[in-house]
C-alpha cells in the first residue's frame, strides 16, 4: 500500500510539479476557450477543469493523464445551453458522470478493442478540425488588428522555443498570451477580450445542486445530451490513456478510468462546472514536460485554480486573439498529420473508415456519431475481407455417381451467397456429399444457406449427405468462454 502510494504519487516529484505547472498554464486558455465554445461563462470551464483534474488525480486509472474541460465535450453542449440554459447543463453533467460510472462497473472500457486504429485517427483529426472551426467566429467580421494579433501569437508559440536558454524554460503559449495581453493593454486596442465573454471565477468553487425541476421532463431533456457526453468522454479518455500508455511504456486500468471520469464529472457538476474528459494535447504536454504520476495531474488542477484566483484582473484583459492562437496550436498539434501521408500507403478500406469518421463528425458536430459510423464501416470491411476466406472444391466419383463438395473456411452472412454459388445444382448426380469438416459456420445465415443447398439438391433428385456439420457449427454457439481456451484456437485455425 505504502509502496503503491509512493510510486503513484511521489516517485518523480520534481518532474511532476514542473509538468503540472506547465499544464496548468496551458489549461487556463483552453478552459476559457472551451467555455466560450459551449456558450457559458469562462468560470464554468475553469471550475470544471480544476475539479476534474483534482478528482481524477485520485480516482483515475491512468496516472499522468490530464483531464479537464474539453473541446469534444463542449461541442456537444452547445444546443443544450442555448435552448435550456446553464442549470440544465449542470444536471446533464451529473447524469453523464452516473452513466460513466455504470460503464466502468459494466467493464465497457474493454469495448475499446472494437475501435480500430483508423477510427481513432479519424476521431483525433475530426477533433482537431472542430477545435479549429470553433475559432472561426472569432476571426470573421473583425478588424485587421485581430488577424495581426493572431498571427503574432502563432509566431511566438512556434518560434519562442528556439530562443536560446529561455525558450526551453518558459512555456511558449504562456509567453504568447502575456505578450499579446501586454501589447493590447499598452496600445489600448479595441478588440474583444476574455472579459467580454462572461464572468471569471472570483471565489473558490462552491457546492451547488443544479437548479432544475426534478421530473421526467428534465430527464428527457438532458438524457440524450448526457448519453452523448458520456460516450464521447469515455472514448476520448480511453484513446488518450492508450497514447499515454505508449509514451510512458506503462499500463493503465481502463475500467477504473471510466469510473474515475464519472466521479470527476459528478464533482464538476456539483461545483458548477461543465462536463469534461481526458485531453490528448494536454496529456502529451504533460508527458513531454516530464510528468508521470498522479501528482502531476493534481498539481495541474490546484495550480490552475490558484492562478485563476490570483490573476483574475489580468485574465479579463487577455485578448481573444491570443486564445485563438493557442487553440490553433492545440488543433494543429492534435491533428495526426502522419495520417495524410499514410493515405497513399494504407489500403483503401482503412482510408475510407478514417475519412468517413472525420466527415460524419464534422457534419454532425458529434464525435460519437463519427466513431459509430467508423466502427460500423470498419466491421463491414472486415466481414467482407474474412468472407473471402472461404473456398469450395469438388470432385466426382464415377463408380458411385457421387459429387463431393469440400468446404474450407469461414461461412457467415457475408460469404453465404458465395457458398451457395459454389454448388452446381444443374448437374445430374445420384449422390451429393457436402464435407464441412474444415469449414466454420458462424451464424444462422450460414446454416440457412446450407439448408437451402440441401433442399435444392434433393429437389433435383440427389441423395445428400452432410459430413462434419457438428464441428462446423460449433462456432455458432455463443459461448465465448470456449473460444478463449488455448486449444480452441488450434481447432479454429487448422480445421478439425
Amino acid at each position: 500500500m505504502l509502496k503503491s502510494l509512493q510510486t503513484n504519487w511521489f516517485s518523480n516529484i520534481r518532474g511532476d510539479l514542473l509538468a503540472g505547472i506547465v499544464v496548468a498554464l496551458a489549461l487556463i486558455p483552453e478552459a476559457i476557450a472551451f467555455s466560450i465554445i459551449a456558450g457559458v461563462d469562462p468560470k464554468i470551464g475553469l471550475y470544471a477543469s480544476f475539479c476534474i483534474a483534482v478528482v481524477i488525480a485520485f480516482v483515475g486509472g491512468r496516472p499522468g493523464m490530464i483531464s479537464a474541460a474539453t473541446g469534444a465535450m463542449a461541442l456537444l453542449m452547445v444546443t443544450l445551453v442555448k435552448e435550456h440554459g446553464l442549470q440544465y447543463l449542470l444536471a446533464a453533467t451529473l447524469l453523464t458522470g452516473v452513466f460513466q460510472i455504470i460503464a466502468g462497473y459494466l467493464k465497457l472500457g474493454g469495448l475499446m478493442r472494437f475501435v480500430s486504429r483508423s477510427v481513432v485517427t479519424g476521431f483525433v483529426n475530426a477533433l482537431a478540425i472542430l477545435i479549429f472551426m470553433a475559432q472561426l467566429p472569432e476571426l470573421t467580421n473583425v478588424t485587421w488588428h485581430v488577424y495581426a494579433m493572431t498571427a503574432a501569437g502563432l509566431g511566438i508559440i512556434y518560434l519562442f522555443p528556439y530562443v536560446p536558454v529561455v525558450g526551453k524554460v518558459l512555456p511558449s503559449p504562456l509567453v504568447c498570451i502575456i505578450v499579446l495581453t501586454g501589447v493590447a493593454m499598452a496600445v489600448g486596442l479595441d478588440i474583444r477580450t476574455v472579459g467580454d465573454m462572461g464572468e471569471l471565477p472570483d471565489t473558490l468553487p462552491i457546492f451547488l445542486w443544479p437548479n432544475v425541476p426534478l421530473n421526467l421532463e428534465t430527464l428527457m431533456i438532458i438524457l440524450p445530451y448526457s448519453l452523448g457526453l458520456a460516450v464521447v468522454g469515455l472514448l476520448e479518455s480511453m484513446m488518450t490513456a492508450t497514447i499515454v500508455d505508449d509514451l510512458t511504456d506503462t499500463t493503465s486500468d481502463r475500467n477504473r478510468e471510466c469510473k474515475g471520469q464519472g466521479v470527476a464529472n459528478i464533482g464538476a457538476g456539483l461545483l458548477g462546472g461543465m462536463a469534461g474528459c481526458a485531453m490528448i494535447g494536454q496529456s502529451i504536454i504533460n508527458v513531454k514536460s516530464g510528468g508521470r504520476t498522479r501528482l502531476s495531474t493534481l498539481t495541474a488542477g490546484v495550480f490552475l485554480l490558484i492562478m485563476v484566483l490570483v490573476l483574475d484582473q489580468w485574465l479579463v484583459q487577455i485578448p481573444m486573439a491570443a486564445l485563438v492562437a493557442v487553440m490553433i496550436m492545440v488543433s494543429i498539434g492534435t491533428f495526426s498529420w502522419g495520417s495524410i501521408k499514410n493515405l497513399k500507403e494504407h489500403p483503401l478500406s482503412t482510408n475510407i473508415v478514417m475519412v468517413v469518421t472525420v466527415v460524419v463528425v464534422v457534419a454532425t458536430h458529434n464525435l460519437a456519431f463519427g466513431v459509430l459510423a467508423g466502427v460500423l464501416l470498419a466491421s463491414l470491411f472486415f466481414a467482407n475481407k474474412v468472407g473471402h476466406y472461404m473456398a469450395v472444391t469438388s470432385e466426382f466419383d464415377q463408380n458411385t455417381d457421387t459429387r463431393t463438395y469440400k468446404v474450407v473456411g469461414q461461412v457467415f452472412f457475408s460469404s453465404s451467397e458465395k457458398f451457395l454459388e459454389a454448388f452446381d445444382f444443374k448437374e445430374a448426380v445420384d449422390n451429393v456429399v457436402i464435407d464441412l469438416s474444415r469449414a466454420h459456420f458462424w451464424d444462422i445465415t450460414a446454416v440457412g444457406a446450407l439448408d437451402k443447398a440441401v433442399i435444392k439438391f434433393r429437389r433435383e433428385g440427389a441423395d445428400v449427405e452432410v459430413l462434419g456439420l457438428n464441428e462446423a457449427s460449433a462456432t455458432i454457439v455463443d459461448r465465448f468462454g470456449v473460444h478463449d481456451k488455448p486449444d480452441a484456437a488450434d481447432g479454429l485455425m487448422g480445421g478439425h
Binding site: 496551458a26 510512458t248 511504456d249 514536460s289 494543429i332 498529420w337
Partner: protein, 294 residues
C-alpha cells in the same frame, strides 16, 4: 517449504547480482549455499528500469505530429538506456560466474530480466530454494553511509522462500543460531531447517528471548527433538531482555555465531509504520549474514 516442485527440475539457489559492493560477497555466499545444499546456482540480474525521463522539455507547445515525435524521442532514450544496462548486466553476470566457478560451483546459470526486483523474484519462486541478496544495495554505497538496500523490505514481504541476506565481506559460516519464538510458524521453520544439509556439522544455537517459563522450555524441548533427530549439534538458551534485537545481537557476539536465522514481518505494514518492526531493525544493524524465513 517442502519440495513440491522437485519434479520441475532441481530447485536452485538464486543469487541476485547488481552493481553494488555486496555483489562479490553475494557470489561467495551463494556458492557456499549451493555447495552445502547440493543445488545448482542461478545468477540473476534484474534490470529495474528507471521509468522517468532524463530530459524534459517544458516549452508547453505541441507542433506538427507532436505525439509521433515525442514517442520516437522517448523510445530512443529508453533504448539507449536499456542497451547500456543490458551490456553492463552481462558483464556483471560474467564476472559473477567466473567467481562462483572459482569457488567450486559447476552448475551455474545466468538470467537477466526486465522487471522490478520483487516481481521477478516472485515469478522465480517455483524454481528457487533460496534467494541470496546483499544487505546493502546499489544506492547505498553512493552516499557512503550503510543503508539497508532500498528494495529489501518489499522483497522480503513478497517472496515465500528463504532469503539469505549477506554483508559486503564474505567469511565462511561455521555456526548458526535460530531466533525462536515458539509459534507455529517457528516450528515450521524448524522442520525446514532440519531438512536441509546446510547446518550439518556446525554448532546450532536455539535462542528464545523473554521470561524463562515452563511453557517456553516445553517448546524449546520440542524444537530440539526435531533438530536432534537430524543429528544437529543443538545448544539452547533462553535470554531475558526487553529489546529483542539487542538481546539477539548480544548472544550472537558472545558466542561468535556467523549466521542468524529468523522469521520475518509477523505484522502488517500499518503496524510496522506505527511501531516499527524487529525485522527492519535487525536488517539495519546486521553485520553478519541473516537468513529470513517467511
Amino acid at each position: 517449504m517442502t519440495d513440491n516442485n522437485r519434479e520441475n527440475g532441481p530447485l536452485q539457489v538464486v543469487a541476485c547480482i547488481d552493481g553494488s559492493q555486496a555483489a562479490l560477497s553475494v557470489c561467495d555466499y551463494a556458492a557456499w549455499a549451493s555447495q552445502r545444499m547440493g543445488d545448482p546456482l542461478l545468477l540473476l540480474h534484474v534490470l529495474d528500469e528507471e521509468k522517468y525521463p532524463a530530459r524534459t522539455d517544458v516549452s508547453g507547445n505541441i507542433g506538427l505530429g507532436a505525439r509521433e515525435h515525442l514517442l520516437n524521442e522517448l523510445v530512443e532514450l529508453d533504448q539507449q538506456r536499456s542497451k547500456l544496462a543490458l551490456k553492463q548486466g552481462h558483464l556483471m553476470l560474467d564476472e559473477a560466474e567466473q567467481r562462483v566457478r572459482a569457488d567450486g560451483v559447476d552448475r551455474v546459470n545466468q538470467r537477466q530480466r526486465h522487471d522490478e526486483l520483487a516481481g521477478s523474484l516472485v515469478s522465480l519462486e517455483p524454481e528457487a530454494r533460496l534467494f541470496v541478496l546483499g544487505l546493502h544495495g546499489e544506492g547505498s554505497n553512493r552516499e557512503g553511509a550503510k543503508h539497508v538496500g532500498s528494495q529489501l523490505e518489499t522483497v522480503i514481504r513478497s517472496v515465500h522462500r528463504p532469503v539469505l541476506l549477506v554483508p559486503d565481506e564474505y567469511t565462511e559460516p561455521r555456526s548458526a543460531m535460530l531466533a525462536f519464538d515458539g509459534s507455529e510458524t517457528a516450528f515450521r521453520s524448524i522442520e525446514l531447517l532440519a531438512g536441509t544439509p546446510v547446518f550439518q556439522g556446525m554448532p546450532f544455537h536455539l535462542v528464545m528471548v523473554g521470561q524463562d517459563t515452563d511453557e517456553k522450555r516445553g517448546q524449546m524441548a520440542r524444537a530440539r527433538d526435531v533438530l536432534a533427530a537430524q543429528k544437529l549439534e543443538v545448544t539452547q538458551a533462553i535470554r531475558q531482555g526487553a529489546d529483542v534485537e539487542k538481546t539477539l545481537h548480544e548472544y550472537q557476539t558472545e558466542h561468535d555465531i556467523d549466521l542468524l536465522i529468523m522469521g520475518a514481518y509477523g505484522h502488517s505494514r500499518i503496524r510496522r509504520f506505527l511501531v516499527g518492526s524487529t525485522t527492519t531493525r535487525m536488517l539495519e544493524t546486521a553485520k553478519k549474514p541473516l537468513v529470513i524465513l517467511r
